[in-house]
Symmetry: D2
Subunit: 349 residues, 4 copies
């Protein structure tokens, strides 16, 4: 439809190049002085105009920044901190910008690559590796916080000795710790760049590390919401908590484990709602009864007698004959004997 979906060189001049295109969701741009622009994919010869890398001040002529809409509009206040403990400090996608390049001039001394399409692939992969290692650094504390939050909610709800809750906590800690080790391994076993002594993060381990938290993130949120209970779908807001008429009721009825201030529990629940981003998710899990509640019903409704009788019959263990249904099932070979015509030995074309 148009040629500018990826950023490209539209003119080469004596002193520099002119570029056009846009980059989308580039973190922290609104707070940065300069941007370094790289190709983000493999190129063929015909893509030479797209094989361009350079550095550019973000107030250069022709650059427009369109910052993404913050999760929480307005300044961080006591209210927003209660209601959205994470988003009020560091919203997701808050600093991201679309950077538009409207025929921006870049002097040659700031151009690192211009047309050498053979190297786009290496740059894209290397950038990806570094970027993912950074992601792991960012996410180690987050996974630790989430694991801790699950443990905290289990404590506040008095669920610490339930076997399914322990097994969920065990799973969270196992992923968190494995993820930390993989991130470490990415640094401890670096890869040497071809013909140089530069050490790059280990490609396999960095990618495994990034994948580990990204692949498992939804399971993290699910387990946390599960343990937190349905209240994470409609957590108590600052306005409600501060309302003197409501407070006594909230204190009395949303209290949980002895010794834990109701406020602590409510704050933890707001963190669950904010960090797992999911009133919808929690709603589906808890409204009309938790997952555990359904499992209990499966167990209760199941016709174990029939199932076991069938298994006994197959295993050659006596006892199945007494079961009304299974006991009256004929033996397969007896049926065959009764129903089958004698072998047709005359059969021929």
């Amino acid at each position: 439809q148009h040629k500018d979906y990826y950023l490209r060189v539209v003119d080469k001049q004596k002193d520099g190049i002119v570029v056009r295109g846009a980059k989308y969701h580039i973190s922290c741009t609104a707070a940065a002085n300069e941007a370094i622009v790289l190709p983000c994919r493999t190129h063929g010869e015909e893509d030479a105009d797209y094989a361009v890398a350079f550095a550019i001040p973000l107030n250069a002529k022709g650059i427009t920044l369109i910052a993404s809409d913050p999760e929480i509009r307005g300044p961080s206040t006591e209210e927003t901190i209660w209601d959205f403990p994470v988003a009020s400090k560091l919203g997701v996608g808050d600093g991201e910008c679309m950077i538009v390049f409207d025929d921006v001039f870049v002097p040659w001394e700031r151009v690192f690559m211009c047309g050498e399409w053979q190297f786009s692939r290496d740059i894209a992969i290397l950038f990806g590796t570094f970027h993912r290692l950074f992601a792991c650094c960012r996410m180690v504390p987050m996974m630790e916080i989430m694991t801790g939050l699950a443990a905290l909610m289990a404590e506040y709800n008095g669920l610490e000795n339930y076997s399914h809750v322990r097994s969920k906590l065990s799973w969270l800690v196992q992923v968190t710790e494995a993820f930390k080790v993989m991130s470490l391994a990415a640094c401890m076993f670096p890869e040497k760049e071809r013909d140089s002594n530069l050490a790059n993060p280990n490609g396999m381990y960095t990618n495994i590390s990034k994948y580990m938290y990204a692949e498992n993130f939804h399971q993290f949120t699910k387990f946390i919401q599960d343990i937190a209970g349905g209240i994470a779908a409609d957590p108590i807001s600052y306005r409600d908590w501060m309302n003197p008429e409501e407070r006594p009721y909230l204190e009395k009825y949303l209290d949980a484990k002895a010794g834990i201030p109701t406020e602590d529990r409510l704050r933890a629940i707001r963190l669950v709602a904010d960090i797992t981003g999911g009133r919808h998710d929690t709603h589906q899990i808890h409204a009309e009864g938790s997952l555990q509640a359904q499992q209990m019903m499966f167990f209760r409704e199941a016709d174990w007698g029939m199932y076991k009788a069938l298994a006994k019959r197959e295993a050659g263990i006596l006892g199945w004959e007494e079961h009304p249904t299974v006991g009256s099932m004929k033996n397969f070979s007896d049926i065959l004997k009764e129903k089958m015509p004698p072998f047709d030995t005359s059969y021929k074309v």
Copy 2:
């Protein structure tokens, strides 16, 4: 700590009973005239005061409603409909109330049960079954919408022919259709109440049906976010879209498949962000490269030569001897022969 965590009878009088306690997140209460209050669990003899069921007008003396904080404060406008297409209409947890009963009087003619603790279990289970069947009714259209949304995003992003996208869409439709059939089966194979002709929803099938969507909901959101791309973490807001200076850039650069208006794509993305509730989730999946990007790297970085040589050696297929590492691995039984002392036939205590 106190005895009112569950609602209970505090006094029995000539004309009625007096109850105290609270019920949390009761849907639609703010819009209802009356509430029917039931026990929510099994009781023993010592819990007789908690075994109480009755109907009560919600403006009765002593009742206080604390409505949960809506997802979107303020009225539904063109802006909130763009930004939060679902939450602006019907937010999660919006109509839920905490119903507080401060020594509320209920006349005997509205009391269905008072002290018959033996029946609490039956009531709780039966209410659970009906409530879950209702949940299924509510969620059939939602799962259909989510499946459709994934397909729409695949179309708008031009991904329809990618094998992994098709397999995700196939999975979504399979769960949706199985869930619909199970909900239907819950009605088609009802259970007769003991000693009556009342038909109740099938207990096993209703619970399976509820479990199916609840257990799979996070996987639904994950697949939708995966297909939608990173933009669902910082979707374009109404304010940005309506800003005449930004609009041409947004139109040009956030365009996707030929023939699809950019606005349609951006609206679909807002629906993704709103319905999956997860800027955080999407962030983790996409920032620093989609899950698919890491998988590609696993494939590229893997030492397939070594792996295959090992497998060949085990299978007795020639070719592994040429591999530098695997080829130089000794045969286990040769090592044994070399290293093992002769059998010690004199061994004795």
Copy 3:
């Protein structure tokens, strides 16, 4: 490489056609009188020779049957029934044959299709649907037996009250029951063939039904092995059991729940080993401790204090300051204030 990978017409004669090729793993062939041969995929015009369907007696000239190797060679005896309760009766792949057609003549009256490549697709899909519905019929009892076997092992091992065991049994019964309903739905909501009154199994539901057991089968075997214990990796054979010197030890030490004959337990374990086919699988799960044993260790080794302190810090709950590590972590914004140079307001290209 050669043109006979799929069966094709090599000659059309006055009275009939001549076909060449082979069909692999065709169930029950060794016991059948006739075979009906159909195309198994979509064809284009250039594949017209492969678009052929006919019926043929299996002792026709030019047909060779190569039966697959049975799981258990030799007749079914008391020993093989003990050792392999399923395989001894009906081995997997036992009756399957490769049917080779060496220029086999088929008279026209037995040819249903010859060259009408446009219809190959319909035939392949319709055959697939019927074949899968048959698969469901075959697997309903098998899934019931497996669910029962898990319950039986839980009983014999005295594990019925462990929460993780109940939750595994609940899962098994839920899949089994959902699968049964889907199979039923495949018949209850049939599809009418174009321009005819023939009712075919519902395409969507039949495929969901087949997929449900096939997709979940490995999870079934895993859970059964998990509950059965490590002994399913080296179950007691008939020879051992019948050996009078071993018997007293086996009776004494492999006994489990009071009242259950050791023999019953050992037979059930042989059924586990045979039906889940997996000494290897069981080995990996149990040797060096069951999965549950590792989970217990995760829980025990985890630094819950640190995790919870991190979560408290994020939620704004007091208590984290006392933790040695977390308490000494500076506030991010304080660090920024200290380390950051003053804003460079002169920044310009």
Copy 4:
């Protein structure tokens, strides 16, 4: 029922102790000279007799070994190596023994612990950790072989460029490599024993490492069987392959990718069948069509038009009005307006 389920001290004498009980599935016993016997669980004071550790020659008076039944009876021959490439060399559970102790005398100098029940827990945990680290050593090559086998089958079947096959291979390699790193970390970050300089394997990392392969093993076998195809359920035996009448047909029709000898492919398939232990598993996956085949049908049968129309309606995107069903669905608020009685403002108790 009896007190000997766990091994215990039945007599303490001047020179030593007398023990009774049995140990089940102890690896390699048949080939060992001595056994070291340890408590396998936590003990309380009342269990003091069970808190016993010692070393004992396996031909001591009163010891009986009952070796488990080997997977393959009889010596390893060309035939068994073809048919069962792994089991013929090193069967699962082959060397395991039940060790029975019939009042066996152990001299004091070989007794390490006798009655110190407080230490049973430490010993059980430490043994578990070492045992699991050993398990990891054993399984690193096995997981590499299995990953390689999947890649080999993909190559031999000509499937290397299918996206779902690549994504399965990527998953296998990712687990294998993460598992290797975790095993390494277990050694690189050892734990110091209380009051000693002994370095024990890292408890958390060792357990994660063991869990990683055990938890994922069934998924490994599933993916390998999936890629191998239905033939792994009825693989060609040595007898068939060596039969001169069958050989030409097998060569011709079981050939796959050009350049790969049929024999190599058939050997690889036997390895799949032997290592994944699962003719049953493969049967369920492939008979009546692979999982992929059902997914294709879900995609084909789905009513995408309806699903997309529903999503459009929800997102506020035009186009849904034309869909026959969705287009005729009324607006929820319009229905409300029509059906609802006017608000009953007189409502009162």
